[in-house]
């Protein structure tokens, strides 16, 4: 596929090199990392990601030129594909599979890369945030062992994530999908000598495996039904009008894909791995478990939007799961004491928002939230890493307080991120979250109003737990131990500079989609429109316009409700701030949680995370017994063990017993009949018969001589006599 565009642009046809840059770094670390100095590791790994970022900028710039209508490659949003070679399949029609309708289709999976507005956005923030976090890590990990290993894994992650984003088909996306899962596993278990870390890594990997099964089943269902692996072909087919809305196969495929998204993006009921993933180093939490990898599920669903739109039931499931996850995780975040755990639950909750947006058909709003969230959540995690760094490893907020003046840069940047996530105007989170809530509200049907209310409640909780975190960490009186207080210090430049850059993004990122209602032009959504635009058309045709037509609605008029909802959101954020301020402003050494005072049972429930892990232990892992019975994996294991020892081994033992009985009989037969009669019998007979002969054997030489003489005399007489 060598096109005119390939000659015209420098970066665009070299798109496939972007993932290979960090892969190169990872390979160097793998083979030579041990013998390299830290400076060399920095040069290779950070350098690779910086180059990737620069290349990404170049590629996206080229892409914007490419979509200029006057160049004739197609209007805005025309995807650019670069196919390197056929990865799976022969390409000559020899490898075919039967589609659902009985016709043959060719297996043809490209090592191909796709750039469209959706992947551009991911490409930019993954390389951008990834680069900042790499730089931050050079400071954060400076005193840790396994420096080169850490950066090797990070680079490998960047490679996988970029492959995931840039793939042009489901199978190559799956390669990246598994790659990021592997890197997540490796990095959660980075401190592998700590039991809890290796357990958390296993948990993440195993829970993700459930999602992966859903993903692969879903994507293969699509391939089986539609006959192509490529996103472009699948989207074109799904939009062709041949398929009815609510097509059962497409609904099933969408739901299966969503299971995959639930695993990777930590949605109910598969979210349990993400909070435990905080065992990894903090930059990892920021990069993988907040900004990039966990949004892969959102990306995949957004990428499959044409299919999801044809499955309204699946969309409803996505929306409900998203909203439920959002409020559920936020409620747990209200009372956690570990600074990183609060942020982990916050991440789960924000991911819930994104899925809520996708579920109501507001794909662009969901993607926008991914984009803004990447900045402020990465900033929050990196800030918390800076706090932990300052506190010499302490993560419990109960032992912090009054850090505002001691680590000012960390404080200011984290404050900005908090304002952003809480949805305060004009920080980034305000625009994206408000857009999601507005789209949910304006969707048709009573159910969506309930979802809006859930999302609104979540916004209140978000504001509360974030300001709780800020107050407990920075503003309340110091609760630090004397020794920790002595060591508090601001982080080095390599850590604070990324914080500042991310803080600027956390303020400004939202402005890219300044809504029409506030006199803006929503650039971001316009940019994404070609990827999702057809959806609105399809839905309108089928009379379900309300779900998706919101984007157009904005153009037509601005509802007064939009302003009311904005005010309500700001009110919720302010209310959360006020409540947190009241509760924690003066939190001394023995402060009490307001929820614990007012409703102790609720506090216990939230503090123990709704006992979900325990529930899973009872039902799925079987680490705990219900009564005397064990369920779940270990229960199955025990049952299998019982079956093995009692039934299989029982049969084996019975066969053994029978063999032994037969052999006993055989022994008896051999001993008494064969040996006794057949072998010993003749011997005994011979012995008995030979008995008289034995009588002649005295053993005395002289007797023998006498007999000889007697014989001689006998012969002599005989011959003489004769």
């Amino acid at each position: 596929m060598h096109s005119a565009a390939d000659n015209m642009f420098f970066f665009l046809p070299r798109l496939w090199l972007i993932p290979l840059l960090p892969a190169f770094g990872a390979v160097i670390m793998f083979f030579f990392g041990r013998s390299l100095s830290k400076r060399a590791v920095n040069a290779v790994c950070v350098g690779a990601v910086v180059l990737a970022f620069v290349a990404a900028l170049g590629v996206v710039r080229d892409y914007n030129l490419y979509t200029e209508p006057k160049l004739g490659f197609g209007g805005p949003g025309t995807p650019y594909q670069k196919v390197l070679y056929t990865w799976l399949g022969s390409g000559d029609g020899h490898l075919n599979f039967t589609k659902r309708d009985g016709t043959l289709a060719q297996i043809n999976v490209d090592a191909g890369f796709l750039l469209d507005p959706l992947s551009s956005i991911w490409l930019l923030f993954v390389t951008g945030v990834g680069m900042l976090i790499h730089i931050y890590s050079t400071g954060y990990m400076a005193h840790e062992g396994g420096y080169y290993r850490f950066f090797g894994y990070l680079n490998l992650f960047m490679f996988s994530m970029l492959t995931l984003i840039l793939a042009n088909n489901y199978m190559l996306l799956f390669v990246g999908w598994e790659g990021v899962g592997l890197c997540s596993y490796l990095l959660i278990g980075f401190y592998f000598h700590r039991k809890s870390a290796s357990t958390a890594a296993n948990k993440a990997f195993i829970v993700n495996r459930i999602g992966d099964a859903g993903f692969i089943l879903g994507s293969l269902t699509l391939v089986w039904y539609l006959g192509s692996f490529r996103f472009i072909d699948i989207n074109t087919l799904a939009r062709s009008g041949h398929f009815a809305i609510g097509d059962p196969v497409l609904t099933a495929a969408a739901l299966l894909l969503f299971v995959g998204a639930c695993g990777k993006s930590a949605q109910l009921p598969l979210y349990v791995w993400l909070p435990d993933a905080m065992e990894g180093p903090t930059p990892v939490s920021a990069l993988i478990h907040a900004a990039t990898m966990v949004t892969a599920g959102v990306y995949m669903v957004a990428r499959s939007n044409a299919v999801f739109v044809l499955a309204p039931k699946a969309m409803l499931v996505v929306a409900i799961v998203g909203a439920t996850t959002a409020v559920f995780a936020a409620s747990i975040g209200l009372v956690q004491n570990d600074i990183k755990r609060v942020l982990a639950y916050s991440t789960v909750s924000q991911l819930g928002y994104m899925f809520l947006a996708l579920g109501v058909g507001a794909f662009a709003a969901g993607v926008f939230h991914v984009f803004t969230h990447a900045f402020f959540k990465a900033l929050l995690f990196l800030g918390s890493g800076s706090v932990i760094h300052a506190m010499s490893g302490e993560q419990d907020m109960r032992n912090m307080g009054d850090l505002r003046k001691r680590i000012p840069i960390t404080h200011w940047t984290m404050l900005i991120a908090t304002l952003a996530i809480a949805g305060i105007f004009p920080f980034a989170g305000f625009f994206s979250k408000d857009e999601i809530l507005w789209q949910t509200w304006s969707s048709e049907g009573g159910a969506y109003r309930i979802l809006w209310f859930v999302g609104y409640g979540t916004a209140l909780m978000t504001s509360f737990y974030m300001f709780r975190l800020m107050y407990l960490t920075f503003y309340s009186p110091s609760r630090m131990t004397h020794e920790a207080e002595h060591h508090v210090h601001e982080s080095p430049k390599s850590m604070t500079v990324p914080l500042v850059i991310l803080a600027i993004c956390s303020i400004g990122a939202g402005w890219l989609s300044w809504p029409h209602s506030l006199g803006g032009s929503a650039h971001f959504e316009k940019f994404l429109e070609p990827v999702f635009a057809r959806e609105a058309v399809v839905l309108q045709e089928e009379g379900k316009s309300a779900q998706l037509a919101a984007g157009e609605k904005e153009v037509e008029h601005t509802d007064k409700w939009e302003y009311i909802l904005m005010a309500l959101s700001l009110g919720a954020a302010g209310l959360g701030f006020g409540m947190a301020r009241d509760a924690y402003r003066k939190a001394g050494k023995d402060y009490a949680e307001p929820i614990a005072v007012k409703a102790p049972p609720l506090y216990r429930l939230l503090y123990n995370k709704w006992f979900v892990d325990e529930g899973y232990d009872y039902v799925f892992t079987g680490r705990r017994k219900i009564g005397k019975i064990r369920f779940g994996a270990m229960g199955a294991g025990e049952a299998a063990s019982w079956f093995d020892t009692k039934i299989i081994d029982g049969v084996v033992n019975d066969v053994g017993w029978a063999t032994r009985a037969v052999s006993t009989l055989s022994t008896w037969w051999d001993k008494w009949i064969i040996d006794g009669i057949g072998v010993n019998g003749p011997a005994i007979l011979a012995r008995m018969l030979s008995y008289p002969a034995r009588l002649f054997e005295w053993g005395l030489v002289q007797w023998y001589a006498l007999v000889m003489v007697a014989g001689l005399v006998g012969f002599a007489f005989y011959y003489v006599w004769k």
Partner: protein, 102 residues
């Protein structure tokens, strides 16, 4: 004076032979038994020499020399066995040498 004929030799040899046989059969000391065997062999030698004389050729003489050699070898082997046996059993009583039973 009665000339000494072959018969005389044969009678003497027979007497010697009987003496030897009686010695072999009745004495319990192995050394004596071996000595008695020498007597028997010498009785045979006497016969051979007598017949040699009677026929006037040297075949019998030659044979007698062979027998003498044989007797010497037999005595050497027999005494060797005897010493070996004595070392084990500290006896040379023929009655106690009865290992050749079934």
């Amino acid at each position: 004076m009665v000339p000494i004929t072959t018969l005389h030799y044969l009678v003497v040899a027979a007497a010697l032979f009987v003496l030897g046989v009686i010695g072999v059969l009745t004495r319990r000391n192995v050394v004596i038994v071996l000595m008695s065997i020498e007597l028997i062999l010498n009785a045979v030698n006497l016969n051979l020499v007598a017949f040699s004389h009677m026929w006037g050729n040297l075949h019998g003489q030659l044979f007698a020399i062979f027998v003498t050699v044989d007797a010497a070898a037999e005595a050497a082997v027999g005494l060797g066995i005897l010493i070996a046996f004595f070392r084990n059993k500290e006896t040379i009583n023929v009655d106690e040498i009865d290992l050749l039973k079934w």
